[in-house]
């Protein structure tokens, strides 16, 4: 009963935190998409970089999020910048990897035909490669979003705001109801984001 009481009595601050949470994730994803797709495209042209870049992204994923926040804290300071930077780093792998795989997976004949007809490389990238790889890239973005919605909760620890605040306050006050509010909201957010992106993805796959 007290869980619902909590939700009803604090709905305003829940909404605010949720909005903060969404904002952090959205900013991080936007930057990560630009960075990740860019990197992914780049390594299809400079193949020798593909290995190292993907390896780097992989290594980033293995760093525990709490440690990552600690590592970036001296660089970006307390607050939401460090949080966003962390989320960007974690989003890179799925986006870079899927961009790379999506472009590499295009039937070579399609690219050959485009080249043979005298399309410029930039046009091939814009009109052929990216549109064809887009469903795969979008799947990568989806993976990233679902993942960092969860990680963003931890970023509250270094003052980035968001729904993690409830969780950490709950833990420090030994108030499990508060932890539950935070956790449930984060889960709901992740599920909603996943559903939304799935629909967008479905539309592009036709």
């Amino acid at each position: 009963m007290s869980f619902w009481f909590l939700v009803v009595s604090r709905w305003q601050s829940i909404l605010e935190s949720t909005w903060e949470h969404i904002l952090i994730v959205a900013v991080a994803v936007c930057v990560a998409v630009v960075l990740g797709v860019g990197l992914g495209v780049m390594i299809t042209y400079w193949r020798s970089l593909a290995g190292p870049v993907l390896y780097f992204c992989q290594v980033v994923m293995t760093i525990p999020s709490l440690a990552m926040l600690g590592l970036l804290l001296p660089v970006f300071g307390i607050g939401y910048k460090t949080g966003v930077a962390t989320l960007i780093l974690y989003s890179l792998l799925p986006i870079v990897r899927n961009t790379y795989a999506g472009i590499e997976g295009i039937e070579p004949a399609i690219i050959e035909a485009a080249k043979g007809m005298g399309m410029r490389e930039i046009t091939i990238l814009r009109r052929i490669k990216l549109p064809l790889a887009w469903p795969v890239i979008l799947a990568g973005i989806r993976t990233a979003v679902v993942m960092i919605v969860g990680i963003a909760a931890i970023a509250s620890y270094i003052g980035a705001g968001g729904l993690g605040e409830f969780i950490f306050r709950g833990i420090s006050q030994w108030n499990l109801q508060l932890v539950l509010v935070g956790a449930v909201c984060v889960s709901i957010l992740a599920v909603l984001a996943d559903g939304l992106l799935k629909r967008v993805e479905g539309r592009t796959r036709r």
Binding site: A109, E112, G118
Partner: protein, 370 residues
């Protein structure tokens, strides 16, 4: 139109050249077929013409200009390109696919749309039906047609075709080949055509360039390749049934006997007998008012019958027919398929063009003798 001078290509980290000191010339308006086993350098040779591959040595001229000095983008936009896998862009509609090069060249939108419709008509696809479809909705044969239409979009004087009809079943392939040949009759493009199939080479080529291990073995007309192969390699390539293959070089419409009697269905048997007696034909062709063959009456049947009957009463529906563009090979195979000694040749309007009988075919081949 296309001229290669001492062209050699050695790929990085390979000792043996893929193409070795190749010199040849393709005249304007001709189809030159590069043929040979896989790995003989035919595709490499073709790709050097539009600079998808740069030659290690030698010069290539297109329209008298050294391609090495032309911007590859400009060069390629003026050379149609069709590959076996077609490479249609799956996310674009058929119209967008065809519009690729005109769009790159910056044509105005209304001119592009007009051109797309013309091309779809040209390759036998109804623009209303196919314009807005996606490649995935088309059959293999239809996709090949779109591939050809796309290559022709900006009306390039030169076409490069790498096994363009390779990915379809034999029936569709024969169909596409015939259609393309009749198109070419009107277009008069200069075409470099790559295939590993000697039969296709014989059918499509004005000239055939036989290649082996990067070298040109023989460059000649199909007839000469068949009747005077340069060496054992060419003999092996064209196969032991050379004589049969030469049938591919003759169009049924060109040799069909046109001076034969035809009759209307209402013609009396007596009259038909008279018509037939003059000629040593196994059948008399029955045509309708528009000179379109409806059926045949067999000579034996006709001679057996007496009385006042009309020809249409002993008419057998037409089965053994060939298009005027069909080759004698096709005609012979139609005859054999239906177990007949004749094949009726019709033009595109389904009008009577002539008849080819088995005996006549033998005579023809004797005349052409090897």
């Amino acid at each position: 139109m296309i001229k290669l001078e001492g062209v050699t290509k050695i790929f990085p980290r390979q000792k043996v050249p893929a193409v070795k000191n190749l010199s040849m010339e393709v005249a304007e308006g001709e189809i030159c077929v590069l043929v040979g086993p896989s790995g003989c350098g035919k595709t490499t040779t073709m790709k050097m013409i539009n600079r998808l591959i740069e030659p290690t040595e030698g010069k290539i001229y297109v329209n008298g200009r050294d391609v090495a000095e032309v911007d590859p983008i400009k060069l390629r936009q003026n050379i149609g390109y069709v590959i076996q896998e077609i490479g249609l862009f799956p996310h674009m509609t058929i119209a967008e696919n065809i519009a690729t090069v005109p769009r790159e060249k910056g044509w105005p939108e209304d001119k592009i749309q007009e051109r797309v419709d013309v091309l779809l008509e040209l390759v036998g696809l109804d623009p209303e039906v196919y314009r807005n479809r996606k490649p995935a909705d088309l059959s293999g044969g239809q996709r090949q047609r779109v591939g050809v239409a796309r290559a022709l979009a900006a009306d390039p004087p030169i076409l490069l075709m790498d096994e363009p009809f390779g990915a379809v079943d034999p029936i569709t392939r024969a169909h596409l080949q015939n259609e393309f040949l009749s198109l070419q009759k009107k277009m008069k493009k200069t075409i470099m055509f790559v295939t590993h199939d000697i039969d296709e080479a014989i059918k499509m080529g004005d000239k055939i360039a036989v290649m082996r291990a990067g070298e040109l073995v023989q460059y000649d007309t199909p007839d000469r390749i068949l009747s005077a192969p340069a060496d054992d390699f060419v003999v092996a390539l064209v196969g032991h049934n050379r004589a049969l293959k030469r049938l591919n070089l003759v169009k049924a419409g060109d040799v069909a006997r046109k001076d034969v009697p035809v009759a209307k269905g209402t013609c009396s048997l007596e009259e038909a007998k008279k018509l037939l007696q003059a000629d040593n034909l196994p059948v008399i062709v029955i045509v309708d008012g528009l000179n379109r063959p409806r059926g045949v009456a067999y000579k034996e049947e006709l001679l057996r019958r007496n009385g006042q009957a009309h020809l249409q009463e002993i008419m057998t529906p037409l089965e053994s027919v060939a298009d005027e563009d069909a080759t004698l090979y096709d005609a012979l195979s139609t005859m054999l398929n239906y177990g007949e000694r004749y094949v009726v040749v019709m033009n595109h309007n389904k009008e009577f063009q002539g008849i080819i009988t088995f005996g006549y075919l033998l005579e023809l081949m004797k005349e052409n003798g090897s």
